[in-house]
Subunit: 154 residues, 2 copies
Amino acid sequence: MKISQGVEWGLHCATLLALAPPDRVVRRDRLAAHYGLPEAYLAKHLQAMARAGVLHAVPGPRGGYRLGREAARITVLDVVEAVEGSTPPFLCQEIRQRGTGALPPDQCRRPCAIHATMTAADQAWRASLRTVTIADLVARLPAGVRERNEKIVS
Amino acid sequence: MKISQGVEWGLHCATLLALAPPDRVVRRDRLAAHYGLPEAYLAKHLQAMARAGVLHAVPGPRGGYRLGREAARITVLDVVEAVEGSTPPFLCQEIRQRGTGALPPDQCRRPCAIHATMTAADQAWRASLRTVTIADLVARLPAGVRERNEKIVS
DNA sequence: CCAATCGTGGACAACAAATATCCGCGATAG
DNA sequence: CTATCGCGGATATTTGTTGTCCACGATTGG
Ligand code: SF4
Ligand code: SF4
C-alpha cells in the first residue's frame, strides 16, 4: 500500500497557490521550479486537480493556475482524491465464490464482515483527511516560510 | 493507492483457521483449494503471517497452519501489517528542501502540517482496523457458512 | 489578423512493485 | 530411512507508477 507522490506535490502546490492574491495565476514552470519537480509530470497532477475543481487553469499568455475556490473550502481529501482517484483501496475479489469452498451467489448478496471492516477503516481515513483544509495548512506554515512563498507567487 | 490482495487472502484464511479445533493444523493446499488461490503465492503470505506471530506453522508430515494465538487476540490490523508490511503509506520526499524555493534544513526539523495530516489519517485508519478481531469476523459469519467451513478444517 | 505563450491530453518509454512460479532445503512423522 | 510438508531464495510475468514528448486549442498582445 503506497500513496502516490503526486499527492504531496498537489498539496504543496495548493498551499503555495493559497498565498497568491485573488485572481492571480501562477505559471506551471514557476511551481515546478520552486519545488524542483519535473514540470511535464507535475502537469498531469495539476490537470487532474483542475478537472476536479480544486484548481482553476487559465490558458494562453499570462495563463497559469489558481485555486478553484477559497482555500477554506478545499479539504486535503479533495486534493488526495483529485490526484489519486477515488477508487477504494480495498478491491474485493469475491474469493468466497471461488474454489472448492465456493458459496452460491445468493449467499453473497451483502458484503461480508471483512469487506465491511476494510470499508469502515477507509472511511475513517477519509474522514480524517476531510477535517483539514488548505487554509489550515497555510495557517500552520512558519511565518518565515509564509512570507518567502508569498513573494514567489505575487 | 491500493491494498494488496494478499490482505484479503490472509483474512479469509485466518477466519477459516479460527473455526478449527484447538491444536488442529490445516494444510496449505487445503486452504488454497478452498478459495481457489495459487498455492505457491498464498504460501508467501502465510509465511509472512507466521513470521509476525499471527499464524503458527508446523512442518513435517501432518503439518500445516493454525492460529498463532486465540482469535480474539488477533486484530485485523495484525493481519494487514503482517501481509503488507508496516511501512507508512505516505512517504515524504522533503520537496520543501528542493528547487528554487528550498528551505534550509534547520527550518525542517519538525514534520510540516502536510505530513502531520497524512500521518493522523493513517493512524485513524489503523485504529479502525484495530477494533476488529478475527473472533469478531467469525461471529459475523452466516451460520450456514460457519458450519460448512467448520467441516472443512476439522 | 498574426505570432508567441501556455495549458490540454494522448501516446509512449523507463522504472518499480505486485503477482506468480519453481526448486533445493530442513524438519518431522511413521 | 523415506515420504510429507513448510521455508525461503531466485526468477519470470504482469501491472502500476513515474517521467517524457508532441500536436492541439485557447488566449494575449502587437
Ligand atoms: S466480500 Fe468478503 S467474502 Fe467476498 S471476497 Fe470480499 S472479503 Fe471475501
Ligand atoms: S515533511 Fe511536509 S514539507 Fe517536507 S516534503 Fe513532507 S509534506 Fe513536504
